[in-house]
């Protein structure tokens, strides 16, 4: 009785074709990203050459040109994140633990509606409604708290400031962050919550003891997600911000560093030659910055996953 090792020596034609097609589809993802990197670099390359001619728009060289935009991108997004995170946690808590249960799904839908609004509409609203609404407040802040570096400078008369942009951005990233955090809060093990309540905790104390620690990795996850989205946001910034090529922390003036994405949107259609190459280069930078943040986020989350309550 010969002992034969059974191998997959017979595969059907249909199986072979289908599995190869599926594999090819997967590989096409790699191909596409490689193509993105390749074509962008190809187009950006001339801007890095020493004899590049930018038509007077970047006399101090590409690095000096980009610097304010990198600053603007990071600054606006960080402020947006600072505003959005506590709000998102609050909203998620409200829906998961404070509102009557019957309404929680409906309330979730309401917040999700914010996510369905296209960014160009946010831009219109930001410049035509929000900015004028906030202008008096900016004036008050500038007059009375102008000694704080953020509020110094010549206050804008139109409200088209970095702070307005940060507020619009925060509203835009709020719904995804709130949805993610709400999911996590809803998954807090009932056991932990009941244990806290059994110790005589008030609702807030129970949340502090059971829900927040459990939800921490989720909150960090949401923050990274929100940051990534804010960094890439284009139209709202392009429409609301009043730009200037400066690096400044002032939040209330008309002289604000633009973001990389908004700058490209505004300048690209009319651009040409080496200047256009440089714009592509800034786009490549934005891509790399966003990728880096994603990877850092992934690393942080995988480290913390071991300690999360999910285990």
């Amino acid at each position: 009785m010969a002992a034969t090792e059974s191998k997959k020596s017979v595969t059907r034609l249909g199986d072979r074709i289908f599995s190869r097609t599926a594999t090819f589809a997967g590989a096409s993802i790699l191909l596409t990203l490689a193509a993105v990197a390749f074509f962008l670099f190809l187009q950006a390359w001339p801007a890095l050459l020493p004899d590049a001619d930018f038509g007077g728009k970047a006399d101090d060289g590409p690095l000096a040109y980009v610097a304010p935009f990198v600053f603007g991108t990071l600054y606006g997004s960080v402020i947006a994140l600072a505003i959005a995170t506590p709000l998102a946690v609050g909203i998620a808590l409200y829906i998961s633990h404070y509102a009557p249960r019957r309404f929680s799904q409906a309330l979730g839908y309401v917040v999700d509606l914010l996510a369905a609004i296209p960014s160009v509409v946010y831009g219109l609203w930001g410049i035509l409604v929000l900015a004028p609404f906030l202008t008096p407040s900016y004036q008050w802040l500038n007059e009375n708290l102008g000694w704080i570096p953020f509020f110094e400078g010549q206050v804008s008369a139109t409200g088209r400031t970095m702070l307005t942009v940060a507020i619009v951005l925060s509203i835009m990233i709020l719904p995804i962050m709130a949805a993610l955090i709400r999911e996590v809060f809803l998954q807090t093990p009932k056991l932990h919550e009941e244990a806290a309540l059994a110790l005589g905790a008030t609702r807030w104390e129970m949340i502090r003891m059971a829900v927040l620690p459990f939800g921490r990795p989720g909150i960090i996850s949401a923050m990274m997600l929100g940051l990534g989205r804010a960094l890439g946001e284009t139209m709202a910034v392009a429409m609301v911000l009043s730009p200037a090529s400066v690096i400044s922390f002032a939040l209330l003036t008309s002289q604000n560093p633009n973001t990389i994405a908004a700058n490209i949107a505004l300048q690209f259609p009319e651009s040409g030659g080496d200047y256009r190459s440089m714009l592509v280069g800034t786009g490549l930078m934005l891509f790399l910055i966003t990728m880096a943040i994603n990877m850092v986020a992934r690393y942080i989350i995988s480290r913390r996953a071991e300690f999360s309550g999910a285990n």
């Binding site: 590989a27 219109l124 035509l128």
Partner: protein, 354 residues
């Protein structure tokens, strides 16, 4: 018998009417003080933002003091947090209401037959419409869907049903990277691709716009399809194999039909997301005032770009341009809401029971 209060007795609690009364009181006080002190801006309007902020701060301050005195420290902290959390939610709803109100009230002005039956060709000032933009949006989103759905679904099938080993890990990692591509980078890519392939004269066209949208759509379709395929119980696959059905037929005739409702929902949500994208289309498809049905030649207008250019490039009669911009915004929002609604209906009605 000493007068010892039983430890089970509920400690004093603020009455139920406290909250509405305190809120009403605080905001009235704020309103009054603002009006009376004459803190107005140049136009003589009341600073509404200040009223809201001051009213809220007053409420919180009063509540803190009163509650602490009557209910004790722990309960007062609990009350403060409840106030904070509720404020957070309200703060989210206010922009939503404001946005909806603004778009609807401003957009209705031009939501007329002319708007939907004309382009902007030869229009400077009043009149004109967004027909060219609407047609463009429908065409380009349609093409993007045709490109993204097959690739997205097949890649998801690869990852769930076949992928093991290094290639699969790479693919899943890069799908994540793709999810995070800023939309303007997708636009730059599509523009550059067509620039190299077709030369500078023909680089900007509808197809380039569709390609940039596909880059943004594919990862969303992949992730949604993956989720749905993973939910299909393995027992169904086993039942099919046991009947002597080969793997590929099992996937096509058992797994996908079972996951179909979810996949359809995911695709529609992906469409709703990209239909509002402006930046990549601005770069890759350009903008024009005329009708263009042909995605392969010449610039094509799309609705979100229409909204932007109507606002940014105002001509002689600025109000007309702004009106058109809002009308376009309203149309866009209606389309997005309808798509979301359809997705929800499909997922409710068509999920396989049992």
């Amino acid at each position: 018998m000493s007068a010892v209060t039983s430890s089970l007795q509920a400690s004093a609690s603020l009455p139920r009417w406290y909250n509405p009364a305190a809120l009403l009181g605080s905001f009235s006080l704020a309103l009054a003080s603002m009006t009376l002190s004459g803190f107005e801006d140049e136009a003589g309007n009341l600073n509404l933002a200040a009223v809201i902020v001051i009213g809220y701060l007053l409420y919180m301050a009063i509540t803190f003091v009163v509650s602490r005195a009557v209910e004790g420290r722990r309960k007062s902290v609990d009350r403060m947090v409840t106030g904070l959390v509720t404020a957070a939610f309200t703060l989210a709803v206010i922009p939503l209401l404001s946005l909806t109100y603004t778009v609807v009230s401003n957009g209705l002005a031009r939501l007329d037959a002319t708007f939907f039956s004309n382009s902007m060709r030869n229009i400077v000032g009043e009149g004109g419409g967004a027909l060219h933009a609407i047609v463009g949006t429908l065409e380009l989103t349609g093409i993007a869907t045709l490109i993204s759905v097959p690739i997205g679904i097949m890649t998801a099938i690869y990852l769930v049903e076949y992928g093991r080993g290094r290639l699969a890990k790479l693919v899943t990692f890069f799908v994540d990277v793709m999810t995070g591509i800023p939309s303007i980078v997708a636009g730059l890519f599509a523009f550059t691709l067509f620039l190299v392939v077709l030369g500078p004269a023909n680089a900007i066209n509808g197809l380039a716009g569709a390609v940039s949208l596909s880059v943004l759509m594919v990862p969303v379709v992949i992730r949604a399809t993956e989720e749905m395929l993973k939910i299909v119980p393995n027992e169904l696959r086993e039942a099919s194999y046991a009947l002597g059905v080969p793997k590929w037929l099992t996937i096509i005739k058992v797994v996908i039909p079972t996951a179909l409702a979810g996949i359809a929902t995911g695709v529609i949500i992906a469409i709703a997301r990209v239909i509002g994208e402006t930046a990549p289309l601005l770069l890759a498809a350009g903008f024009t005032a005329s009708m263009n049905y042909n995605p392969l030649s010449d610039k094509m207008m799309t609705l979100p770009v229409f909204v932007f250019t109507s606002f940014a490039n105002q001509g002689v009669d600025t109000q007309a341009y702004i009106d058109r911009s809002w009308a376009g915004a309203l149309t866009l929002m209606i389309i997005v809401m309808v798509l979301n609604l359809i997705a929800r209906i499909i997922s409710r009605v068509f999920s396989p029971r049992g």
